[in-house]
Symmetry: C2
Subunit: 229 residues, 2 copies
């Protein structure tokens, strides 16, 4: 497991350490090259290579002329789990729905336990916006729906879920051309209401049940579409 790290890799690790230790947030600017190579005691060409490495890992963002910043991509790569390499994309999407089915009901129950007032407010706003997007026939609801489930992941208090849930949902949206049909609009509106209400009331089994129904509906609908193909 233990591999010897190159100087560039060690420098990348040092920069990550610098970011977390100094509580740098998304969008914060790093010290300039001269200062940073001095702080980390590495040569500027090594530092430059490490910065390039971290930029390719979506941890840093280099803006020409403006400096180097903490990327808003939170170090999450494009298609980080290599889903684009899976040949049978329909099966993969089905499997991603199965994964959501396993994860999201428990996640909703955890959210009902831990959600803050701020998070509940966010859920209610997103829920409204999704309803409006359905009513006005805009495409926005796809992205809003991902946000809705991401806020629930955030409210669950589990940082690992917060990193994984958006990727699963974005992958489904990215690879699934049927994403739109999939949304049983009226049912979705009702279930989003039930989920939000249960989380708001800190009703753990209520959130578990509402999310289970939501996930089961989604899977059932996806299966139906696949069978019609």
């Amino acid at each position: 497991m233990e591999e010897t790290k190159s100087l560039v890799e060690q420098t990348s690790d040092q920069i990550i350490h610098f970011i977390t230790e100094n509580d740098l947030e998304i969008g914060d600017r790093l010290p300039n090259e001269y200062e940073l190579s001095d702080k980390l005691s590495v040569g500027r060409s090594t530092l430059r290579e490490a910065v390039r490495d971290l930029a390719s890992r979506n941890i840093l963002e280099v803006r020409q002329g403006a400096g180097t910043f903490v990327s808003d991509k939170r170090g999450i790569a494009t298609d980080p789990l290599g889903f684009s390499l899976i040949k049978d994309q329909d099966k993969m999407i089905y499997d991603l729905f199965e994964l959501r089915y396993i994860l999201e009901p428990t996640m909703a129950a955890l959210a009902a336990k831990h959600a803050t007032g701020e998070q509940i407010k966010k859920l209610n706003i997103l829920r409204d916006e999704i309803e409006n997007s359905f009513k006005n026939n805009t495409e926005e609801h796809v992205e809003l729906d991902i946000k809705f489930h991401t806020v629930i992941a955030e409210a669950s208090g589990n940082v690992a879920l917060l990193h994984i849930i958006p990727i699963i949902n974005e992958s489904i949206a990215l690879f699934n051309k049927n994403y739109n049909i999939l949304h049983l609009k009226i049912e979705t509106i009702e279930l989003h209401k039930d989920i939000t209400k249960a989380i708001e009331n800190h009703d753990e089994t209520g959130a578990l049940d509402a999310m289970t129904i939501h996930m089961a509906n989604n899977r059932k609908e996806f299966k139906r579409i696949m069978e019609e193909k």
Copy 2:
């Protein structure tokens, strides 16, 4: 969601398409630059940039002088989920255990349903090797344990689980200096036996129960270690 893709990004997508369409496997060699730029109708400098992009995404591996190959990393990035950016690493590991707790029992039940003879054989071999590593006090069991759970993910038949489970377990091993103590060796040996046996007998609830106990033990032990800190 929809962004216009650059020519290099489009070429990267084309190369991925070429890999999946031609059923190229890990370690297979891609056509040389001249041939490939011709096949994809792109310039060689664009192609070269796309190859570099795919290599940084661990989809391709460029071996100087030998050619370009499908990487054995299956397109999964180093720390793909950006876990190294999370400041409170103890909490993160606890949350990763919670995630395993949610995923792995159901995964084991699915494995009991779908496991092939070949996979069951692999599980029995790994189980033996882990036991030997414990007995001989080697470090090997860490990597073997990750493999054991990865084979169960494979046996579950869910490709999304197969991509996610190794990352969760490797992250725990990578960030958790207490990984060794964590292994309640005798209990682990017994539970690995129970899990393997249940999968072998296609006993879904048996696999669910054995994996639940295994996950609960791991979490309990991790909590104990944290409290002692």
